[in-house]
Amino acid sequence: MKFSLGKWLLPTYVALAFIFTMIPIGYTFVFSFNKVEKSNIAWKEFTFDNWLNMCGQPVVCEAFGNSVAIAIISTLISTGLGTAIAIALGRYKFKGRAATNLLLFLPMATPEVVMGAGLAAQFLNVGISKGFWTIVVAHVMFTLSFVVVTVKARVATLDPRLEEAGRDLYANASSVFWRITFPLLLPGIMAAAMLSFALSFDDFIITQFNSGPETTFPKFVYTAAARGIPPEANVIGSLVFIVAIAIVMIVQVRASLKAKKLRA
């Protein structure tokens, strides 16, 4: 008998682990179809109403809109700032590299509650009232390092000879950047922007400390949890999930098609 336990142990373990990680996602999705009278805890009846009337609870949609707007603005800023830093780190020799690396590493090694409370204390001491823009400021701060790390990995794979070739052909500095460097970095920049968007969109702790009266989707869910989360929130959560998974799949399929083309 060559049937060995060892051969099946790992796949079974991995399958069980994935079931564990997928359960709450499936649960959120299923309960977005629940017909709800008072609380969305017990299953009552199947209905499409929540999906057809997503903004039935206007607060949910408003919070969602805020989250999207904040994520877009903070992603644009942090991707710009972070890409510049990544290029400097990957391409230039300069004094203070160790200090720069440390300052970039620290935000990733700091618990969110510390960053959130620190920035909130600063706004308090300076006397800035919190709202939409203080959330943006906070989100740029904590996503920046992740952008740098992601783009830096791409800068490292860039062949400097391509830029040299451009210059040899009398391209000026700006066309070398926009026609050679930037297109080559673009996949890394896009990945960084997607990561930054996802981090900002899903952030709760830093947001709670720096939002004042402004609400975001995670903040809405947190506040609603005490009374019970309305099914509309499940609808929006599920919708975001489906869109995000679709984007990931498109990116992966395109990448594998490209790899095939390169091999052919």
Binding site: T21, A84, L103, L106, G118, I205
Partner: protein, 304 residues
Amino acid sequence: MAFVALGQGSAGNSAAPTKASRVAFILLAPGMIYLGLFFLTPLVSLVITSLKTASFTGEIGMYDYGFQVSNYAYALEQYLPQITRSFVYALIATLMALLISYPIAYFIGVKARAKPILQAFLLTLVIAPFFISFLLRTFAWKQIFSNESPATQFLQSIGVLAPDQYVIGSSFAVIAGLTYNFIPFMTLPIYTSLERLDTRLVEAGADLYATPAQTFWKVTFPLSLPGVISGTLLTFIPISGDYVSASRDFLGGSDTAMIGNVVEANFFRIQDYPTASALSVMLMAAIVVLVSVYVRKSGTEELL
């Protein structure tokens, strides 16, 4: 236009070092100034706030600048159980996440290497939880194990739980929730390390009559150590400051509060900013000490 200047700077690395470093400065300055203003000075603000004294007017939420070091003693004395609990929970949850994630990462990075489509699919599964709000996911666990739920009733009927015992509100629920939320943060770095593992080294181990277990502990695991280290840090640090899982509205109960819950309560409900700040400063200091000791012990300096 920092980008336009880029090409000029890299034109001659050795020829014009001053010019190159000026370009580097232009590229670095905006982002680093940003971090200085909104990451570093807030840490200073935190220290300043942690030393403030109660206002003369006695108004709630009003404090004067001062040097009241006793705020720290007060915070420690008042919240020692929550502080200890944070680190105990974070340690257990990190170890649990490692136990769950390592086999996943190994399977995707080593076993599924020959099947790129399976590999891509499984990686998507790993990051899938990122795409649904972690608050919704945590709340889903609360509903699954709510007191009247079939899952809880089942556990009570088979005797795992006493009839008057519930899952939600227990340390177990909080630690399980913390573990669950941070599995992808553990899996991805370990996967990255294992994906690069040269399987010929493992074969060599087998050729030299090592048992699979010996090969694993002597070859595979040490080579995956950088991933394990960054995975454990990416898990332990955020968990130690988390207050969603331990919140009473989510998986926690009356005696599961962690340091984050106390900071939140002091900041928002009690408006005791000095105590909230003192707790945050202590958490940060503890993390810095732990991380530097851990990184030195494990011998990896390059984390970025």
